[in-house]
């Protein structure tokens, strides 16, 4: 039986910052759940979703015989009643407003097979959240694509839901690394395969169609895809020198962005700038290059080692190595900074927290936490001040969501 652990951790805040948790228990809408089917996995996933969303409280009640026959006096203290049933690859959900005595949601969700049930429950949770009037949570319906180290020089690429409950291997055989979604609809991915030289492929997860995009000696990594899916930021080393390049997918033109003789990696589109990691002052730090003026400047002056980054509007999240120990364990924490403020918010405390990725709406940060021989996908709900972890018994090489 596939078991995953759900950890909930409140964010550790700077000592100078006092923050009061927003919700008082009684103010959160309360949903009572009754179900016709007899599959506990569905109820469990629904409960997990409500915990991650953190906008409402959910109580999984008991079985019922039908969706529509309601005794309203039974649900005292609850604002909503959710009744749902799963049968023949279809789930039917009814959300009643117990206060106004009206139907808020009546919808059917179809899936190709039962293994896809996490996506079905995530879609239902998304709709419940919207019907209750909270800001949309599109990230909950996203797929995660990740590569896992199987053996030295051998890795496979999987897709999953955000809780790692649904998992499917889509690319295997050989060394397949750095998967990145190629489009916002999540139909295609880019990934690097090591043939005689690193080779970039584009792969359609539904049709299996694979297209060779380019080859580069040394290393080849897709770091970012622009909003319109027209351009890529790559780390290439055509002359044995790792630099950041911009690749136009329509004109097939390659433009070198950085020319430093050390290490430049992890490029991110950031308005008219490119954010990237460089060791040009000795240690890896976040820099930005203005595409109009060509001026390069350091962005964050906190911590000596900033090894990976993600950005959304004015917010930047970095993974910072906070110890420099060649002989023992090192600590990597995630830090949130805003370009209009001097404040730095520590998002994690201890361990090896890396590869942060902002959700499309900027409300949530996904990242990898490594420990021993396992990885966890971490989900940080920024406004809710909570972190959730979903464990995988393998080392995740890279991921995107």
């Amino acid at each position: 039986m596939r078991i995953f652990l759900l950890f909930v951790v409140f964010l550790y805040l700077n000592a100078s910052e006092l923050q009061i948790t927003k919700y008082i228990t009684n103010q959160k809408p309360k949903i009572y759940v009754e179900y016709v089917h007899s599959n506990s996995k569905l109820n469990h996933m629904l409960q997990i979703d409500s915990t991650i969303i953190s906008h409402y409280d959910m109580k999984i009640g008991g079985k019922t015989n039908n969706l529509t026959n309601i005794n309203f006096t039974k649900y005292k203290g609850y604002n909503y009643l959710l009744r749902f049933n799963y049968q023949n690859k279809t789930s039917t959900a009814l959300l009643y407003n117990l206060i106004d005595k009206k139907i808020e949601l009546y919808k059917k969700y179809k899936i190709p097979n039962f293994n896809s049930y996490p996506f079905m429950i995530h879609a239902l949770s998304y709709d419940i959240n919207s019907k209750l009037g909270f800001e949309p949570i599109p990230w909950i319906k996203r797929k995660i694509v990740y590569s896992v180290n199987m053996a030295p020089k051998e890795s496979a690429i999987f897709i999953s839901d955000i809780t790692l409950t649904y998992r499917k291997k889509i690319v295997s055989g050989g060394f397949n690394i750095f998967p990145k979604w190629a489009d916002r609809a999540q139909t295609e991915i880019y990934y690097t395969k090591y043939l005689r030289e690193p080779t970039l492929f584009k792969y359609n997860i539904y049709t299996g169609k694979k297209t060779r995009v380019m080859v580069s000696s040394g290393m080849l990594i897709v770091s970012d895809v622009d909003f319109d899916n027209n351009k890529l930021l790559l780390t290439l080393a055509p002359n044995d020198q790792p630099d950041i390049y911009e690749y136009n997918l329509y004109s097939k033109s390659l433009k070198r962005i950085t020319k430093y003789t050390g290490i430049d990696v992890n490029g991110h589109f950031y308005g008219n700038n490119i954010l990237f990691i460089s060791n040009r002052l000795g240690n890896p730090n976040v820099y930005q290059k203005n595409l109009s003026t060509g001026i390069v400047k350091k962005v964050i002056y906190y911590s000596k080692n900033q090894i990976s980054l993600t950005a959304y509007n004015d917010d930047i999240v970095i993974s910072s190595r906070e110890t420099n120990n060649a002989l023992g364990n090192n600590t990597f924490n995630l830090l949130l900074v805003n370009k209009n403020s001097d404040d730095i918010k520590r998002l994690t405390l201890g361990g090896k927290n890396m590869l942060p990725v902002f959700s499309n709406d900027g409300s949530t940060i996904f990242f990898i936490k490594e420990y021993h021989f396992n990885s966890k996908i971490g989900i940080i709900r920024l406004k809710e001040n909570k972190i959730f972890y979903f464990r995988l018994s393998k080392i995740i090489q890279s991921f995107d969501c």
Partner: protein, 191 residues
């Protein structure tokens, strides 16, 4: 009486049929004899034909001998290269003084190779660092050694570099001895 007549007729028919068969057998034996005789005493044209066949055989034999020598030499070089590993300090890509003899040994091995070859220098890292940065760090380690080999007289066109970041560990335990082993450059002779 009828039985005797029937047996007599059958014997006559058998004797009559067998009487035709020996003529064919005699012809076949004559043909075989003719072939054997011509092999024992070949005429001038057939002697010339035999001489041409011997020349072709010699050419083929020389080619086979050359290929096996190449394979043996490549295997020996690959084995020597695989024993040479250059190690690096934590988060560094400069060659330590104690590692220079290894680089010089690799250079001498490569300079002794006669004929075409390509050697891939593979940069590797320990588990500390983001994977993308580690790939670049591994590449810089490979490039540093490539530059050193070129300075020692190795043809740059015969060297290629690649990085495996932290994805190709030789030791998977979480301790300082393992991390030190994984911060390295390997050398692979490409086919």
């Amino acid at each position: 009486m009828k039985k005797k007549l029937l047996i007599g007729a059958t014997l006559l028919a058998i004797l009559t049929g067998c009487g035709q068969q020996p003529e064919l057998d005699v012809n076949a034996d004559q043909n075989n004899t003719a072939v054997q005789q011509s092999q024992v005493v070949p005429n001038q044209a057939e002697q010339n034909k035999q001489a041409t066949e011997e020349d072709l055989t010699d050419t083929t034999a020389v080619k086979v001998t050359d290929e096996s020598n190449d394979i043996n030499q490549n295997q020996q070089i690959a084995a020597i290269l695989s024993k040479n590993v250059v190690h690096f300090d934590f988060d560094k890509y400069n060659i330590r003084p104690d590692q220079m003899p290894i680089v010089k040994a690799v250079a001498n091995t490569l300079k002794d190779i006669k004929g075409n070859y390509t050697v891939r220098i593979e940069g590797n890292c320990d588990e500390w660092g983001s994977d993308e940065y580690n790939y670049a760090l591994g590449l810089k380690r490979a490039k540093t050694v490539k530059n050193a080999l070129v300075n020692l007289g190795v043809d740059a066109n015969k060297l290629t570099i690649i990085s495996y970041g932290e994805s190709n560990p030789v030791c998977t335990a979480h301790n300082k001895a393992c991390w030190a082993k994984n911060r390295r450059d390997d050398f692979t002779l490409l086919p």
